[in-house]
């Protein structure tokens, strides 16, 4: 197959294995001399371990704990605050304390019940609300940042303002619900430990293993196995499981498999940070914004993990797509004794966009202007500064995308129609809502240059087949296909002649983690350049290898301390329009029409992009009204997919989407990031639509039927 336009879809590289059900995932594997591991987890939220008593173990069964870790007892991520096996303090229900290994899972589960631990229990912090009250107490604030306009200037503006509006907004947990629960296998060999499993970031795991095993670079090897979805849930969490199985394999000299079932996965793995956002906005008489202060509080859970970076992105997006005069923001990651929260598609941005879109929507009501019209007044334009004194230097197509959807949906007419419908229908109410959003592509600031330093290789065999040597994971998002396409097109080779084997750290350089919507844009660009290089040196019938290293785009340098400069090299953009019908008797929300326009530079494969749009938007919409996870005294309440309630095909309508071309010079064929962007607009648009239907403001997501019924009930009370 030869590719004319890069966007034309091709069969996905992994299509056959997945569709036929033949592809073996990690839990399908059996290797010689393999035992299973099961984790004994803390039943209490906060306390000190006084003693651990393990029952007598039958032959072939062993216990593995903190004493067996050759290196220091923490999972290397950013800070050293996450034990591999908690042996002194426990900080959340479900924290791993020790592992039992052996051949038969049934026997292992029985033995787990007999482990006895004596505790000294302490008063835990269970909710973000409690943590905010105690944020000055030692250890509660795990990270914080502040930037923007000086508070003196804002205070002067507020004094002269007509009105000051204060709002508080809450967002809930979100669970990834990747189809394949987490799983990791350590294969024991005399001279190396091979860790294989479901993962997004091979070198994060490798680095964590080198620390935990206190070993050399050649003593561990990380191999990705087919990965059934990640959504960020397999960014940092697998590092902990990898440490568990590798430490165990070393200790018992056998291969060790650790796989979660759905309920264990739902209860102990990382989630999207619940957040509280506070807005304080000064308005003039006409309802124009004079200044705005935003505070963001993230519930980090029991350890900081990646939360500080998540907070950075939340803050960088705290003004949405708007140019707000005199903007100030600060944010905190707070500790609670609950399951640690971590990476999730959007990485802090979904909370911020839900909050700012909600707030701006509410301000438009006060100004008596249609929300979309009000938002457009503040929309950033090419050349505008960012809230961190960076620059939106590339063309912005938001106006075109909005106009297009105004026409497609017949927005003005629909608003009138819905009003008439709502007037006549007692039970059902229709509404339309919009969201405007962006996503900063790649790592924040100079992360790519200073921390990641990506390297890619292309290898050509004697028979002129080319393979990609990179450490990125296809987790279903389609990079096997898209990155292979880029290389094939650049080399003028048929797509079939380019392969992308499952990455193995023994074979591939560190091209960085598969996160932050960076893979197509950053790694894809490196591959494009590598392919150019290979093409220039191409010799038929000869083995060849080329290497490319990351080159930084010239920008306004990012300063993490002052929070100034260009936070991202490029931005992708989106506009969503959502129509709903709300059942006022039950509070159930039915999606009626969903429209989505995106700008991601250039699409590398139409069908792969459509997959990102449909999946991402469904996940984003559900975040706004459907998916509900709660924690009660430190315990996650929803342990099954049914109880948590991600959308089924009966809940999501067919999504009417378009993607606008706006090629970006530093992306392959002009491509920017697309994976996270598609999620971000869902929740705010669905909220706006529900508000439009019910003519009631909400201050939280998800807006579940329970929330809707409660608000209708309160309103009825007010109206008497």
């Amino acid at each position: 197959m030869n590719l004319k336009d890069i966007s034309t879809s091709v069969p996905k590289k992994d299509h056959k294995g997945k569709v036929s059900g033949q592809l073996a995932y990690i839990s399908d594997l059996k290797v010689e001399n393999m035992v299973f591991g099961v984790l004994y987890r803390s039943p209490i939220a906060y306390g000190k371990i006084k003693s651990i008593q393990v029952p007598d173990l039958p032959l072939g069964y062993e216990v593995v704990g903190a004493e067996d870790i050759p290196g220091p007892n923490y999972v290397k991520i950013i800070k050293e605050d996450q034990p591999i096996f908690a042996n002194e303090w426990v900080n959340y229900i479900g924290e791993p304390i020790l592992m039992l290994v052996g051949k038969d899972l049934d026997i292992l589960y029985g033995l787990l019940e007999k482990v006895k631990i004596e505790w000294e229990e302490y008063q835990a912090i269970f909710t973000l609300e409690e943590a905010i009250k105690q944020k000055a107490a030692p250890g509660v604030t795990m990270a914080n940042y502040e930037f923007g306009e000086s508070l003196e200037i804002i205070s002067a503006i507020e004094q002269g303002a007509h009105q000051i509006i204060e709002e508080e907004y809450d967002t809930g947990y979100q669970e990834h619900v990747y189809l394949e629960p987490q799983g990791m296998l350590a294969i024991y060999k005399d001279d190396e430990i091979v860790v294989q499993g479901s993962m997004q970031c091979l070198y994060y795991i490798k680095n964590a293993l080198i620390t935990a095993l206190d070993c050399g670079d050649d003593d561990v090897r990380v191999v990705q196995s087919p990965t059934g979805g990640g959504f960020g849930g397999k960014e940092e969490f697998p590092s902990m499981m990898a440490c568990h199985v590798a430490v165990a394999a070393k200790a018992v000299k056998k291969s060790v498999m650790l796989v979660f079932d759905r309920s264990e996965d739902m209860v102990v793995t990382t989630k999207r940070h619940p957040a509280k956002l506070k807005y304080r906005t000064a308005l003039d008489k006409e309802g124009n914004i004079l200044s705005m202060c935003v505070e963001v509080y993230l519930d980090g859970g029991a350890n900081v993990g990646l939360s500080s970076v998540v907070l950075q992105r939340a803050l960088l997006n705290s003004a949405g797509v708007y140019k707000i005069p005199h903007f100030h923001a600060k944010g905190y990651v707070l500790k609670t004794h609950t399951v640690p929260n971590g990476a999730f598609r959007g990485f802090g941005a979904p909370q911020s966009f839900a909050g700012i879109e909600s707030h701006i929507g509410h301000l438009s009501k006060r100004a008596n202007i249609d929300p979309l019209e009000y938002k457009r007044k503040y929309l950033v334009k090419q050349g505008d500064p960012t809230i961190t004194k960076g620059n939106f230097r590339d063309p912005i197509l938001m106006e075109e995308m909005i106009e297009d959807l105004l026409n497609t949906t017949d927005y003005k007419k629909k608003k009138v129609e819905f009003q008439t419908f709502n007037h006549h229908n007692q039970r059902y109410k229709k509404g339309i809502g919009t969201s405007l959003f962006l996503h900063g592509c790649g790592f924040t600031g100079s992360g790519e240059r200073d921390h990641i330093k990506a390297t890619v290789k292309l290898f050509k065999s004697k028979d002129d087949l080319v393979s990609l040597k990179i450490s990125n994971s296809d987790m279903g998002q389609g990079i096997y296909t898209t990155l292979s396409k880029i290389v094939a097109k650049e080399l003028d080779l048929p797509y079939e002649k380019v392969s992308y084997p499952y990455p193995d750290t023994k074979e591939v350089p560190d091209s960085g983690p598969t996160v932050a919507s960076r893979t197509t844009m950053i790694v894809g660009k490196l591959l494009e350049r590598a392919a150019k290089k290979l093409k220039a040196q191409w010799q038929n019938g000869v083995e060849q290898e080329v290497t490319e290293n990351y080159v930084h785009r010239e920008m306004i340098p990012w300063n993490e301390l002052t929070f100034t400069g260009d936070a991202y090299p490029a931005y992708s953009w989106g506009v969503n329009f959502v129509e709903v019908e709300v059942d006022t008797l039950t509070g159930n929300v039915k999606l009626e029409n969903v429209y989505a326009n995106y700008e991601v530079g250039k699409v590398i494969d139409d069908r792969v992009m459509k997959g990102q749009i449909d999946g991402g938007l469904a996940q984003g919409l559900a975040y706004g009204y459907l998916e509900k996870m709660t924690s009660k005294e430190g315990r996650i309440q929803q342990k099954s997919i049914t109880d948590y309630g991600p959308p089924t095909s009966m809940d999501v309508v067919s999504i009417q989407s378009k993607v606008f071309d706006n090629p970006y010079a530093d992306g392959p064929y002009g491509a920017k990031g697309a994976g996270e962007l598609t999620l971000i607009g869902g929740a705010p648009a669905v909220q706006a639509a529900i508000e439009d239907a019910l003519q009631t403001p909400f201050q939280q997501i998800p807006i579940t039927p329970e929330v809707i019924i409660e608000s209708l009930w309160l309103r009825e009370g007010e109206e008497g």
């Binding site: 038969d104 899972l105 049934d106 079932d261 509070g587 459907l626 109880d643 089924t648 009966m650 039927p705």
Partner: protein, 289 residues
């Protein structure tokens, strides 16, 4: 490694019944509740301690037919069978469409839904307002009980260990002028466990109410139904007066006692149950179905 399991699969109902008479067994029809109930953690097979008797293949238990005014439905009819059967009343079909998703509907049976006696069983509210009767068979013969007597609590039914549920009889289904409706409130549109279920049934002669019944699911250990409250409305005319509606609502307000759980709140369940009842009672007319 796996423990030995005894399982029977007889060709005839009679053989099945005589085995059940000899030993206490776990009956499996579709198995969609049983397999969940006995599920173990990952990698370990379900632990069913009693011998298993499969009944899903028994044709005698899969018939749907009319007998006089009554509709007889075989207990082992799957939901998919019933959706394809022209004799099954539309409200029941609509209720079935809210259950699970196609794969489970190809296995799950009406008899299983009844015998499982979950407060969230989605066929139960309608079966209550239809005054469904259950045909229980054992070696000693046939016993017929009202569904409201059969279901006694959460997963508790009045079934002797040697009995099987053979048929479900809907006696009043075909009565003239009857209208029935079921509404399921779940967290999503498929594969959801009901947070509230409501069934309403009304039979009118002109504008006069001849018979009226309501049943609520998922708001108590069993379906909530009150013949006493229903009786107060018989003889009244449609549309009902506001005061009559208010009286019924306040009577149910006292007997609906839902709980908070991981799926919803007591307050939501109660409010919505009463909303659906109010809506049913406030209708100006009822299309017969």
């Amino acid at each position: 490694m796996a423990e030995k399991i005894i399982a029977y699969r007889f060709d005839q109902v009679d053989q099945t019944l005589s085995q059940l008479n000899k030993e206490d067994c776990t009956i499996i029809a579709g198995g969609t509740d049983v397999m969940v109930l006995y599920k173990s953690r990952r990698g370990v097979p379900p632990k069913i301690t009693k011998p298993i008797v499969f009944i899903d293949h028994l044709n005698e238990l899969k018939q749907v037919y009319k007998k006089g005014k009554d509709l007889h439905i075989g207990a082992c009819c799957t939901y998919s069978d019933l959706l394809n059967d022209p004799l099954i009343p539309t409200p029941l079909k609509n209720a079935i469409k809210t259950i699970a998703a196609p794969a489970i509907r190809n296995r799950g049976t009406l008899g299983g839904n009844i015998c499982n006696a979950s407060p969230a069983g989605d066929t139960l509210p309608l079966l209550y307002v239809y005054n469904a009767k259950l045909v229980l068979r054992s070696v000693s013969g046939v016993r017929i009980v009202a569904i409201s007597d059969f279901i006694q609590g959460v997963r508790r039914v009045d079934r002797k260990s040697n009995e099987i549920l053979a048929e479900i009889i809907l006696p009043s289904e075909l009565e003239e002028g009857a209208y029935a409706v079921f509404e399921k409130v779940g967290n999503r549109n498929a594969d959801a466990i009901a947070k509230v279920g409501f069934a309403g049934y009304i039979r009118t002669n002109g504008e006069v109410i001849k018979d009226i019944r309501f049943a609520f699911g998922a708001v108590g250990p069993t379906m909530v139904r009150s013949v006493d409250i229903e009786k107060k409305l018989i003889g009244k005319t449609i549309p009902l007066a506001g005061a009559d509606i208010a009286q019924v609502l306040s009577a149910f307000d006292k007997i609906i006692k839902p709980i908070d759980d991981q799926r919803s709140t007591a307050r939501y369940r109660k409010t919505v149950a009463l909303n659906l009842l109010r809506y049913f009672l406030s209708r100006k007319q009822y299309q017969h179905n």
